[in-house]
Symmetry: D2
Subunit: 143 residues, 4 copies
């Protein structure tokens, strides 16, 4: 993240739609809220989000865990202005298919002086079923 | 993976270029070898592979770990014809920037009756530095 | 776990005190509840639970994540009668020292046909601070 | 680890036998070498190392990953004199039973200014089979 990149939910959504960076893979993701170390987003699964079996792609899920938790952290009072990933762990509990709507819910568990611990739950919006559980450890770059 | 999707390296590379699935994020990845439970690929980092700080995106790295190890598994004699992710763990040791060439090296550590354990190393091609270390646990769907 | 080893909280506590197996490392752990896929336990940290710096040992924390979540699973209606670990991931957020009382809170996130996903939170009883966050993936042995 | 706790292999083995800390769970572990960021140890599995199914206990394996990699790090030229765990990830590929001899092989993958990345492989000594694969991320305390 560049310095002071504390964007609003609407600005993150806009960013996905216009960036030439890897986050363009999230161009159909809508960020709902980003505040106080938390962030929520949603996505309707389309073909571009799936693997060849027609299920939500594990790489996209990992990307969602990475990005949405990073935005959550940026909004935390102790989150710093930039951070880099150290460990990312994603557990896949259930699949999702084209047409399913998913919710991505990220929160800062702890932001210390140099390390931050984030958690992300990805759920099926209609059923509430937990699909993916992510843990993200980041190193905060203090300027 | 769909049944019997045992593609050659050239076919995987072609697949990335033509698919409408999430793997189109890998359209500039070149798969070098896929055989006996291993797979190697390479990529020259461009803007589309980076985060806003200009570094190789952690979500792309996770996607590479997920996908390249899955192709490695498909080529294993005990790898089955389809599998789903259970756990994906990615550790980020060093960054890469635009212009860097990276190597992705995946291998099957063990493919048992129902579970497979894969490992992926992403290295800087020029320096040999280890950038990302990934572990991937999959559940093999036996038909 | 051996077949039908569905013990009560008091029986697990007793087991720790009398076993010759590795769980004797937990002989001062008190299991409070085990029911419906959840388990809670507590421990007052003594020298035998620490590393040479006098802090709660990371290996003990991992053992607590492993064991207490396994007992939680055994009490789940879909937990089966035996299971083996596949992946264990422990994130260390904060330390604990001799004299601190800790709470170990485990729950079954999902128990499917063959795989179970467990989560464990270890907290400081007095402050409520989260110390350790654990994820445990198990393979259920169906007889 | 306390400052300057750079012990030799024999001294670590002795430490396990005499400590009142949690490492006494490793009192039958023999450390073979500790040098240049690596460490090797071995253990003959006895009842005290097992779960109720008679297999090598997952908590002990995690403890071995934690400890042996920490000693490896202490012997690294860039390993510092003390460090704390951030993330510990253990993947269980195969079991071991009473009477089996196991080898624990730890190495420092990278020790940077503040973070260190360690890897541990636990193998069956007789067959060479990989039993456990561990990743350990530590935060180095620079004085």
């Amino acid at each position: 993240m560049t310095k002071n990149m504390v964007l609003s939910a609407a600005q993150w959504t806009k960013y996905f739609q216009t960036t030439k960076c890897f986050e363009k893979a999230l161009q159909k993701v809508k960020v709902i809220t980003v505040e106080n170390g938390t962030a929520q987003a949603e996505l309707k699964v389309e073909e571009e989000h799936t693997n060849v079996m027609g299920g939500l792609h594990g790489g996209l899920s990992a990307t969602l865990v990475d990005c949405i938790s990073s935005y959550a952290l940026l909004s935390d009072k102790n989150g710093g202005t930039a951070s880099v990933s150290v460990d990312l762990h994603t557990t896949y509990l259930k699949g999702a298919k084209i047409g399913d709507e998913i919710l991505i819910d990220a929160k800062t568990i702890r932001a210390g002086k140099t390390l931050a611990f984030l958690e992300v739950l990805i759920k099926n919006k209609a059923t509430g079923d937990l699909l993916v559980k992510g843990s993200h450890t980041k190193y905060i770059l203090r300027s």
